[in-house]
């Protein structure tokens, strides 16, 4: 398998979902079963191909990166900018190979799951088309080797998430959520765009490799490290928007309005991971402060969302906030420099979080049927308080859900443990090296919280007895198409896939394949060197493991005591910490804050401008209008009556216009001009004044009649005279004209012979 075929294969993988999309968007009504088999088939084919690429990449070309570039547009050399060329292309290295597999696995299984879940949906075919376009754009982000294409696919991913969230656009909340997601993403994207533009302005290219090389050779944006950090942070803004980090995380929970498989695919595994992937891709250019900033943002996000997740009652809201917190984790991991760990967590998280969402989807699906069956339409199938005791009813869903929960809370023998442990070790090392102790503390605290709210979820939903037996006795296990993906994800959550030793991931193939790229940033601002970090990491490894186990165990214990053995009544605790609870329940009032700050702000600003426009500008215009009218009316009447007062009145207006003319002349004079020009302008002003005076003095009647009309009549007369002359010649017959033409030609010939 030569490199060319790998590149061709990856291009095929990229374009397959697009093919699915185009076929489905046009023909879904005509295809049997609205083309779901087509889309799923294409995705499984893409999955197979990506596995092939992955295997070949890993086996025979482990440490090589293949690139294929082509110039899309060549602007030649643009004045003031130099030669401008838009070079696009794709790149296949280990990062890409793994991400290809991850995206395709999740996407394929989500497709399979959606066949069952979305059965009978009103826009069934179109849903699969949107899944296709989403997978295509996600693969686009993964596979590209330059910022430009990444930005294009970034927008496409945003678009497809908008389409998928707003799938049931009849519901107002769904369409609002879609709009919110899109707008918030756009805010992040603006940051990213400016970051990319800074890079483009300095390096005249978008391709990563060329940028990093030129950066290595010393030239950095606008010659200052500050700008380099700024660029790094701005690009990270894109990640904040897309991966729902701290300030822009508000859209992800609302995005739960979309169908659950969508949430599984987009809001658990792939799209949100795009932000993390962006950081991983742009890692070499990140300066120390940029990484610090990233780490803090990640930590804050993780902390906030973990606290909110505790108080949520909707199963999908809980999972959404857990996703945000896990993303915070990954970003923190990358921020602290644990590059491989962060990326590893991305991969493992993608697996079990997708599983979690699909599990919750199958629960909701079953609850929906049961409630439907029971004819009870008003209880919310997604509220966990209406669930309970589903263990016996839905065994497969229960066991897979349990495995995922173990993975996410970082219990040994699961992939989650490996990745979370590495990140926590990284944070510890970072803390010890740079003294920012707060990061590891938040890290461990959030790990505990995660374990707590995940097990709370599992217990409330699956264990115990259901209060109203009648309502849920119709619950059935979900059909085969829904349980298979669950089982596959459960399998993928085991440690075996990633490293032979359940406790240390370092020995696995993953850590061998992915290495932290050499930072190209000038040493002054570079972050902690790789060797020092590795060595510090080694020390904190065992400590991190112990700490994380204790914290996780603690969280699980508390969850069991409160919800399973009902020793501590959750409500009592909630009442005691009333203000805190309501604070968490209402998502730290972020939505309200934004509403007040941004939306209100713009409205206010708009009102201010409106006032300014009406009062000031219109005022001036009307004023001038009324002023001239007054003048002319005044003169006309006075002129006819010939009263002294009018002459006096005229004098005054004359003087005023004289003065105004002079001032205008002087004002127009450019600064520092010579005396001559000043006098010239003065004279100009005077002339204008004199003219206005003369006009008004003579009055509208006299001058206008005799001079102006005179001219007009004269021209009319002239035209008439000429017309008479040529009438005789014009006989209206084409022939005579031709004759004249010929005469002309002859004269022409004779003249120029």
């Amino acid at each position: 398998m030569s490199p060319e075929t790998i590149i061709q294969l990856s291009v095929v993988i990229l374009l397959l979902p697009l093919l699915g999309f185009t076929l489905l968007i046009f023909f879904n009504k005509r295809l049997p079963r609205q083309g779901d088999w087509l889309e799923t088939g294409i995705l499984f084919l893409a999955l197979a191909l990506s596995l092939v690429v992955f295997a070949v990449k890993m086996v025979s070309y482990r440490h090589e990166t293949f690139q294929a570039t082509f110039t899309w547009v060549n602007f030649g050399n643009v004045p003031g900018f130099g030669p401008m060329k838009l070079e696009l292309g794709i790149m296949v290295d280990n990062l890409v190979a793994i991400m290809l597999v991850v995206v395709n696995v999740v996407s394929a299984l989500v497709h399979l799951f959606s066949i069952g879940y979305m059965h009978g949906d009103v826009r069934y075919g179109r849903y699969f088309a949107y899944l296709g376009i989403f997978t295509f754009s996600m693969l686009g982000i993964v596979i590209t080797n330059n910022f430009w294409m990444m930005y294009v696919f970034w927008e496409l991913v945003g678009l497809s998430s908008y389409l998928l969230i707003g799938h049931w656009f009849e519901k107002k909340s769904a369409s609002d959520a879609a709009k919110k997601a899109f707008v918030v993403n756009r805010v992040g994207d603006i940051g990213m765009f400016t970051g990319i533009m800074i890079l483009f302005a300095t390096f005249h290219t978008f391709t990563f490799s060329t940028i990093f090389e030129s950066m290595q050779s010393g030239n950095i944006p606008l010659g200052s490290e500050a700008w380099l950090t700024a660029a790094g942070i701005l690009i990270f803004c894109g990640a904040i928007g897309k991966s729902a980090q701290f300030p822009l995380h508000v859209w992800l929970p609302d995005a739960m309005e979309g169908p659950t498989p969508v949430s599984a695919l987009i809001h658990a595994a792939t799209m949100v991971a795009a932000g993390v992937y962006l950081i991983a891709r742009a890692f070499p250019m990140m300066t120390a402060d940029a990484l610090m900033f990233i780490a803090y943002i990640g930590a804050i996000t993780a902390f906030i969302s973990a606290t909110i997740a505790i108080a949520q009652n909707d199963i999908k809201k809980v999972l959404a906030y857990s996703t945000v917190s896990q993303l915070g984790y990954m970003v923190m991991g990358l921020g602290v420099g644990a590059y491989t760990a962060g990326f590893f967590h991305l991969v493992t998280h993608a697996m079990f979080k997708a599983g979690l969402f699909l599990g919750s989807g199958s629960v909701i699906h079953a609850m929906h049927h049961a409630l439907h069956h029971a004819g009870d339409h008003h209880t919310d199938p997604q509220d966990i308080r209406n669930m309970g005791g589903l263990r016996s009813k839905m065994p497969i869903t229960f066991w897979t859900f349990l495995i995922y929960t173990l993975a996410i809370s970082g219990i040994p023998f699961t992939s989650g443990f490996l990745s979370k442990d590495e990140i926590l070790a990284g944070t510890l090392a970072f803390g010890s090296l740079t003294g920012h102790k707060i990061i590891p503390i938040i890290g461990f605290f959030v790990a505990g919280l995660t374990a707590f709210y995940m097990f709370r979820l599992v217990i409330v939903v699956f264990f115990g007895e259901h209060n109203d037996h009648h309502r849920i006795e119709a619950v059935r296990e979900s059909p085969k198409t829904m349980t298979i993906p669950l089982m596959v994800f459960a399998a993928l959550s085991f440690f075996a896939f990633y490293s032979p030793n359940p406790f240390g991931a370092a020995s696995g193939w993953f850590f061998d394949a992915i290495h932290r790229p050499e930072s190209v940033v000038p040493l002054a601002v570079a972050a902690v060197g790789i060797e020092t970090f590795e060595e510090a990491l080694h020390h904190s490894h065992s400590l991190a493991m112990i700490l994380s186990l204790t914290v996780a165990g603690l969280g699980i214990l508390i969850a069991f005591t409160t919800y399973y053995w009902k020793k501590i009544s959750a409500d009592a605790v909630a009442d005691k910490l009333k203000p805190l609870h309501t604070f968490f329940l209402n998502k730290w009032y972020f939505d309200e804050f934004y509403e007040w700050m941004f939306v209100g702000g713009t409205k206010g600003l708009a009102r201010a401008y409106a006032w300014f426009d009406n009062r000031i500008i219109d005022g001036i215009v009307n004023g001038v209008g009324s002023w001239t009218k007054a003048i002319t009316l005044g003169t006309r009447q006075n002129w006819e009556e010939g009263s002294i007062a009018s002459i006096f009145y005229l004098g005054i207006t004359g003087v005023i216009s004289l003065y105004v003319g002079w001032i205008a002349g002087a004002a127009m004079m450019p600064f520092g001009a010579s005396l001559g020009t000043m006098v010239g302008y003065g004279m100009l002003g005077l002339a204008v004044a004199g003219l206005t005076f003369f006009l008004f003095y003579v009055g509208v009647g006299g001058f206008d009649n005799s001079i102006v009309d005179g001219l007009v009549n004269a021209t009319a007369y002239l035209a008439g005279f000429l017309g008479l002359l040529t009438r005789r010649v014009q006989t209206g017959k084409v022939q005579t004209y031709l004759a004249f033409v010929i005469l002309g030609v002859m004269v022409f010939f004779l003249w120029f012979r």
Binding site: G732, K733, V734, Q735, L738, A739, I742
Partner: protein
């Protein structure tokens, strides 16, 4: 007289030009004098053919490249298109005015 006969013996560029000149003037005469619209059209065809002869004569005798002939092809194409449109118009006039006599067609409205 003698050299005239010699001139006659060797048909060169001038001969073709003279023929095209005569053809051209005949065409113009047809346009000028004939009353029937279709006759005028025929006159136009004659004029165009005269022009074509010149094109090819020059391309054959002077420039020796084929540009003249390509232009001649375009002239033929356009003549065809023009003839089609002209005849369509003449037909329409005939339907509305019942005459194709150029002089009688002096109203704009039917």
């Amino acid at each position: 007289m003698q050299d005239f006969i010699h001139w006659l013996q060797a048909p060169g560029l001038n001969h073709f030009l003279i023929i095209s000149g005569i053809l051209f003037s005949l065409g113009v005469f047809a346009i000028l004098t004939r009353r029937n619209a279709i006759m005028v059209l025929m006159g136009i065809e004659l004029v165009l053919n005269a022009a074509n002869i010149n094109f090819i004569a020059f391309s054959r005798y002077i420039t020796n490249t084929l540009d003249g002939q390509v232009i001649a092809i375009f002239v033929i194409i356009l003549a065809a298109a023009e003839a089609a449109i002209a005849l369509a118009i003449v037909l329409n006039i005939f339907q509305n005015f019942n005459t194709v006599n150029v002089d009688e067609l002096n109203q704009l409205r039917d």
